[in-house]
Assembly symmetry: C2
Homo-oligomer: 247 residues x 2
Amino acid sequence: MTDSTGPVRDNPRTRPAKAPLSRQAVIAAALGLVDEAGYAAVTMRRVAQALDTGPASLYVYVADRDELMAEAYDLALAEVEPPGPVDGDWRARLELLVGRAIAALGGHDDIALVAITRVPTGPNALRLLEATMTLLRAGGVDDSVCPWAADVLDQYVTSSALELAARLRDQRAVAAAGGAAEATEEAMSRAAGSELDAIYGELPADVYPTIHALRPAMTTAGRNGHLYATWKLGVIIDGLLAHRRHP
Amino acid sequence: MTDSTGPVRDNPRTRPAKAPLSRQAVIAAALGLVDEAGYAAVTMRRVAQALDTGPASLYVYVADRDELMAEAYDLALAEVEPPGPVDGDWRARLELLVGRAIAALGGHDDIALVAITRVPTGPNALRLLEATMTLLRAGGVDDSVCPWAADVLDQYVTSSALELAARLRDQRAVAAAGGAAEATEEAMSRAAGSELDAIYGELPADVYPTIHALRPAMTTAGRNGHLYATWKLGVIIDGLLAHRRHP
DNA sequence: ACCTGAACACCGTTCAAGT
DNA sequence: ACCTGAACACCGTTCAAGT
């Protein structure tokens, strides 16, 4: 007699799940969609749908899609903790910091695309910029080149995060195809980067002698994700050390 | 008596401009639109409009927007000429090659965005990859790390081209605003990167001491485009030289 | 073979109207 | 203040129909 009569009553049994909208909820929903389907698949309409509302409602909390994605990017960086004194000298700490940023961003698919078209200025991005430049200074990098050095490291983080995301995506595709034999084979060959290898393989050896000669080393398989990332960071840091002072 | 009577006749006076459609024409039109309005503004419908046809007609020559943009990217690289023996030793030549690639891509607004989401495999990209790896080998870079080194240089080219494009875009905005005093001031402050500087300036100095201390060096003005690009390339090449061999 | 009008299934964003 | 239905001005891509 109390339950089914009044549709005016805000009954938590018939209307249970709908959490109140908020800026945080909108941003979290956007990042969740990135995880599921990637940056390009995040539309205002889908974010709204995930929050059980209409697209127009989002504009109460967020100026536009661009701002929303920038906030999702910063949310992805929230989990990154800057290393402390226990983690070693400045170089070990810098490597840890950079590695954590790559893992955090790469763990949210291609959210790092946000950093390609705009300079991140969210609170977490600023926090990590501060930490990075502090470590660089500790490494003897000159004040005048410190911002440049931080920029180079940021570019390294962005491109490495996108690479990691692509690798994880391939792995997920292989795992998802673990049923039909044909699909599995196709997914595995994609994961091995053999499309690219096939392109190199079809080039005439006389006009592309170097590509031809180095082809074994050029496949994604030959790149070995982690080893490549380590090598690349070494290149950058040693390069930075050689250019500590302003030209 | 021959000119105005027959509407059936294909009269070049009344129907002059419409060139026959072709894959090349579609690609060139797309790159032209990038130059005018940037990557995001290039839609199939606008490309069709520029060619005086309907969007459906483009699909005769091009599989989808992605392929079209990839071809436009490769077209932008067509003008890059690999340096020869007259241009100096391997390092001078590598610096020239990389500089030319940045200039070519950056001269077509943000077309370099194409290289972010897919590995360029057009004929010109392959031609320049071959040239790059040949120079790296001449510099003593080990075969096993050559592809990695080429990858690092490609990332440098892409990010530098996007930076250059942004700088040119700002300059164009300043030039275009050369009338109304207010508009000019706003455009110039944008060009000086003072938005970013304002963000840094508002940070509390006690929790962001390093950003605070280095703020003068962090503005775009302080970055001085060309000097920064030179420094960055030096960092990468010297880093590569220090890691010539496989770890 | 090449071209295209019309349609399909989407977009981001705005705005008047509701509570 | 917060929310929203409906609309506006776009998208990429397909496909049946024309030449």
